[in-house]
């Protein structure tokens, strides 16, 4: 199996979110960046398991500037064989998907993995777009995947349950919780990652179709209304009469 895993960098899950330049840019000062958890914990690890079971190669791809190299190296330390960075600062998912699909067309892959979404833009767009550009099946929000020959049997998260479906390679699959167990890179992996190939290639020049015009922060909650723990009928009254939710 020749597998491509799409990874992106995101602010750490505990990062304080703020904006600069009249709320048009994310404030990176003091923010630690990590590999998007769905890409790292589930997509990459499941790809590595496939390689361990039936041979092949795992390639990482990321669309971004040199500031992505740190998370790409982490992916190599966890076990990917090689990596490609498309040297473009993307503005939207369309650009990311187009760059990745262009790379896939010029090479040969059986499976393209993505995370189910990035915790930064929460779009779930890139995987579906890559699949459409390539005209491949798309297995979205996969929480379990078994391969037998060219056929994958996959559980997909749906509202209140899961669908089980089958598809033959090539396909695009987006990874949700359950698809694999997170792996922590060991010292040997970290050392080996330094000598693994990280190819930097120029982008195709595709233009974005959407752009962020500004950011806003959610309204601050007013102070919590504390209710006496002995008096739950008062809480019920507030929920019924004041909040009107029951």
């Amino acid at each position: 199996m020749n597998v491509l895993v799409c990874v992106t960098k995101t602010p750490d899950t505990t990062a304080k979110i703020g904006f600069v330049e009249q709320n048009t840019r994310f404030d990176i000062s003091g923010v630690q960046f990590i590999m998007n958890p769905y890409d790292e914990w589930y997509a990459l690890v499941r790809a590595l398991e496939l390689k361990e079971a039936q041979g092949g190669k795992v390639t990482l791809i990321s669309v971004g500037g040199a500031d992505c190299d740190q998370v790409i190296r982490k992916g190599l330390a966890i076990g990917a064989d090689e990596a490609v960075r498309i040297d473009v600062q993307p503005v939207d998912a369309y650009q990311v998907a187009t760059e990745i699909a262009t790379y896939v067309k010029a090479n040969t892959f059986d499976i393209v993995f993505t995370g189910k979404e990035s915790i930064e833009s929460n779009g779930s767009e890139v995987g579906a777009m890559i699949a459409e550009i390539l005209d491949w099946p798309f297995l979205s929000y996969a929480s379990k995947m078994d391969m037998e020959g060219p056929t994958a049997t996959v559980d997909l998260e749906i509202e209140g349950g899961e669908d089980t479906v089958q598809a033959d390679v090539p396909f695009v699959i987006s990874a949700a919780k359950g698809l694999a167990e997170q792996r922590i890179p060991n010292m040997r992996g970290i050392m080996m990652a330094k000598s693994k190939p990280l190819q930097v290639v120029p982008g195709s020049g595709v233009a974005p179709r959407t752009a962020i015009s500004s950011y806003t922060m959610p309204k601050e909650k007013s102070a919590v209304h504390l209710v006496d723990p002995e008096n739950m009928s008062e809480l019920v009254r507030l929920l019924k009469e004041e909040a009107k939710v029951i």
Binding site: A93, E117, A128, D163, V224, P229, L239, V245
Partner: protein, 319 residues
């Protein structure tokens, strides 16, 4: 024209589909145009889409649309959108919608924004708002293309139900060969799925063990709520993973979220902070969750929760 793809299941339009139709109708009114709703596969009363705001329904009843496939479904949506010159295509930001939105956008050479939380501002171009950074902020995005594809976040809009049934145009379109083969669906019976739930009762490590969940289930049953849990609870296998809400679990936005014995780590808040009303029950007055709560109860959950259940029963008994 605004084309809404409304999801259906068990022969009826799903709640997420109703929301998409109402959103599409309001968008059409703003844009000075009409709202057509597309329905795929077997459905009992397709004209009922008018109740939620559709001006016209296009129905593709072919059996081949019984099971979901992002390739054939997105082709069908785009075929209808192109034939009828849709300027906007609206979908739900649901599990199916997430597999379709990007595909539809590529096929129509359209810019897309997914997880839209309010109606677009059309005063200069098309400015669309969505949640980013897992609910910690909102972004307004400008779509630069002639055709625009939007997916609507669950619970972002209340479906209006004051319309009447509208005419249905049935099209005999075959889906073609699906990219995926359906095997089976496993659903948790009896409860409203978390992403669609209007009330959620959620519990965390403060419960001390899975054997204590009876009081949570009793409260949820009394409220007609769906149960959920925090990540440590799911990771310890006290509760199934599909109950895990938070940044790496399911993001929800019910009208009422009751958090019991959950401290409120930032990753948990990211998945629930768009709930309309949050109630926090915790014995630790310093629990960070109280800062995000509307109502708080500082006390022992093993005493407070049964008392709350009883108070709801009393309220119901009093009518």
């Amino acid at each position: 024209m605004v084309l809404v793809f409304a999801e259906s299941g068990d022969g009826r339009i799903k709640k997420s589909g109703q929301e998409a139709i109402t959103f599409g109708k309001k968008l059409a009114t703003q844009a000075g145009t009409t709202c057509t709703t597309l329905l795929l596969g077997p459905i009992d009363a397709p004209g009922d889409a008018g109740i939620y705001g559709a001006d016209l329904v296009v129905h593709l009843p072919h059996d081949g649309f019984t099971h979901f496939d992002s390739q054939t479904w997105s082709r069908a949506i785009c075929e209808v959108a192109t034939a009828r010159n849709a300027e906007y295509v609206v979908l739900s930001h649901s599990s199916r919608g997430k597999a379709l939105t990007g595909r539809v956008a590529i096929r129509l050479q359209a810019g897309c924004v997914s997880g839209v939380t309010e109606l677009p501002n059309l005063s200069s171009g098309c400015l669309v708002t969505k949640g980013v950074y897992s609910g910690k902020a909102f972004a307004s995005l400008k779509i630069a293309t002639a055709i625009k594809v939007l997916s609507v976040m669950g619970n972002a809009i209340q479906p209006t139900k004051d319309g009447t049934a509208v005419p249905v145009e049935v099209m005999d379109l075959e889906p073609g060969k699906a990219g995926v083969t359906f095997v089976k669906t496993d659903k948790v019976e009896g409860t409203v799925p978390l992403p669609e739930a209007e009330r959620v009762v959620s519990a965390g490590r403060g419960m001390k063990g899975p054997e204590n969940w009876g009081i949570i289930e009793d409260l949820a049953a009394e409220l007609g709520a769906t149960t959920a849990c925090s990540r440590p609870v799911a990771d310890s296998d006290w509760r199934p993973h599909h109950e895990h809400v938070g940044q790496t679990g399911i993001a929800i936005r019910p009208n009422l979220y009751i958090a019991i014995g959950i401290s409120g780590a930032i990753q948990h808040l990211a998945g629930v902070n768009r709930s309309k009303v949050i109630v926090v029950i915790n014995k630790d007055p310093e629990a960070p969750f109280f800062k995000a709560a509307d109502y708080g109860v500082v006390g022992d959950l093993f005493e407070v929760v049964p008392r709350l259940t009883k108070a709801i029963q009393d309220m119901k008994a009093a009518g």
